[in-house]
Symmetry: C2
Subunit: 268 residues, 2 copies
DNA sequence: TGCAATATGTTAGAATTGTAACAACTTGGG
DNA sequence: CCCAAGTTGTTACAATTCTAACATATTGCA
């Protein structure tokens, strides 16, 4: 049990560093049979961490180490995180949410995109040739969008946090201040009626706040498991959002609460 | 001839967008035999644009579309650029230069790293576990370095130029102003005794200038073909550099000129 | 146009990789 | 300590991919 955990962790890192690796290499590298490597990779693939090609595996950039923006932090540090079906469920939910949110995008508009796995999925859902302008502050979003030929891209820089793949800009005088967008897509770690919308790390909050301020329409993308949860850092209240996109696992009272505050609720 | 050109171009884009692709997919996608695809990919691999895995190819991030910083612009827009052995030669030279330059790095120091293929190679030459702080402004360097666990990273943000994968920050008040490093590694498109050190695009010059100003030791990395060339935008003079690393194809007079100006010349 | 060079397709056999089933080994409670 | 569940290795066979050589088609240029 513990041995496999360790190997899978190392495997992930190794593939990440090398971008890709063949089964046979991995097999000799980790001193296990190819069959075992295949089984490990099957797990990693079902969790979206690597892509599988005949003969080897390929790192799926932007979909791991997303320890921010959500309470999956716990799940991901759990020793059995990879075997937990919950994770995959959240993943499917997130993909569905992202797909729905992507339909809100209009051609040639300017949008801001937060960091986090859900946002990576959102980027993937956008047609490769779709024409729009994006403002971002995370490497995942950056990498995803930099592939799209008709996407004009602006990224905030700053200190790079490798766990979250996010930039923290310590200079508030930065051009962040002058940037505007018609929509902003935000992720969160917790949504609570009284305690507000929260995230796990203090350095993200300022960027999120500023992004919401600078956009005409604010859209929150969270899977239903985030409702009722609270993370250490508050960055907005429910009513600060114009739209919340989530999956249909919400208690009726929460739905009513959201709608009562004038927020449009989109369920998938 | 022209058909192959086109296909290879499309192939590159397709693999880039998809990050990776199997031979069979590519074969059906482009309506040619798998054998042809293999031959195409062999060319792309020998130019460092993709990596080959049993059964498919994988986009090699950071090593194409580098149409800045060097006069390879011409080569790269040439219809037969991929078949031009010169390119591969430059590539080998650049890798050798990058390798040499990487030995100048000292543990735990702060360095700035410019954009361009040579810089990508430089990043690759740095040990994965090497401990240092880097400041950068190009996606290639960012992606390369973000994989290294002991690299503290700072990136400038701004408008993203997809041809050069570089950020242009239109706000000079940015925190770029307050950033310092002990060494800076710079690339260039042309080095001329009278006309100075130049690059093809005006938006890069300001960042290069600022980087040189903000660093204790400035190091220029250029392959020998750049000497005597001139690009539109001037950003420094030869004597502004403390060290020039290049390959040993320089005319004797140029070598003497460089040394006479008090610049340390390192040849590989 | 016709020839030489290049590009592409085809084939068959070699090499590699994948699958499935079962055996052997570990591990963690009871 | 033993058992059940989970993990790993092995085997044989299926499927896929690779290589090389040759045949055919296309292209560039004299």
């Amino acid at each position: 049990m513990i041995k496999r955990e360790k190997r899978i962790q190392d495997l992930t890192n190794f593939i990440k560093v090398n971008n890709a690796c063949s089964i046979s290499e991995l097999s000799t590298k980790f001193n296990v049979s190819e069959m075992t490597i295949r089984r490990d990779l099957a797990i990693l693939e079902s969790n979206g961490i690597v892509r599988y090609l005949h003969g080897g595996a390929l790192y799926n950039p932007g979909l791991d180490s997303q320890q921010s923006n959500n309470e999956d932090v716990k799940d991901f540090s759990d020793s059995d995180y990879l075997f937990n079906q919950q994770i995959v469920k959240h993943r499917d939910d997130k993909i569905a949410i992202a797909r729905k949110a992507s339909t809100l995008l209009e051609p040639d508009e300017s949008v801001m995109i937060d960091s986090g796995t859900t946002m990576s999925y959102l980027c993937r859902e956008i047609e490769n040739t779709f024409s729009f302008t994006a403002v971002c502050w995370s490497l995942n979003v950056l990498v995803e969008l930099s592939r799209k030929p008709n996407c004009k891209l602006i990224s905030y820089g700053g200190y790079f946090h490798s766990q979250t793949k996010m930039f923290e800009n310590p200079y508030p005088s930065d051009f962040m201040k002058y940037t505007r967008a018609s929509k902003v897509f935000i992720s969160a770690g917790g949504v609570h009626p009284q305690l507000g919308v929260t995230c796990p790390l203090s350095y993200e909050s300022e960027t999120k706040r500023k992004a919401i301020e600078s956009s005409k329409t604010s859209i929150l993308l969270v899977d239903a498991s985030k409702f009722g949860k609270v993370c250490p850092t508050h960055f907005a209240n429910i009513e600060d959002f114009d739209i919340i996109v989530t999956n249909d696992h919400l208690e009726e009272s929460m739905k009513q609460e959201i709608v009562a505050r004038g927020v449009r609720l989109i369920l998938v």
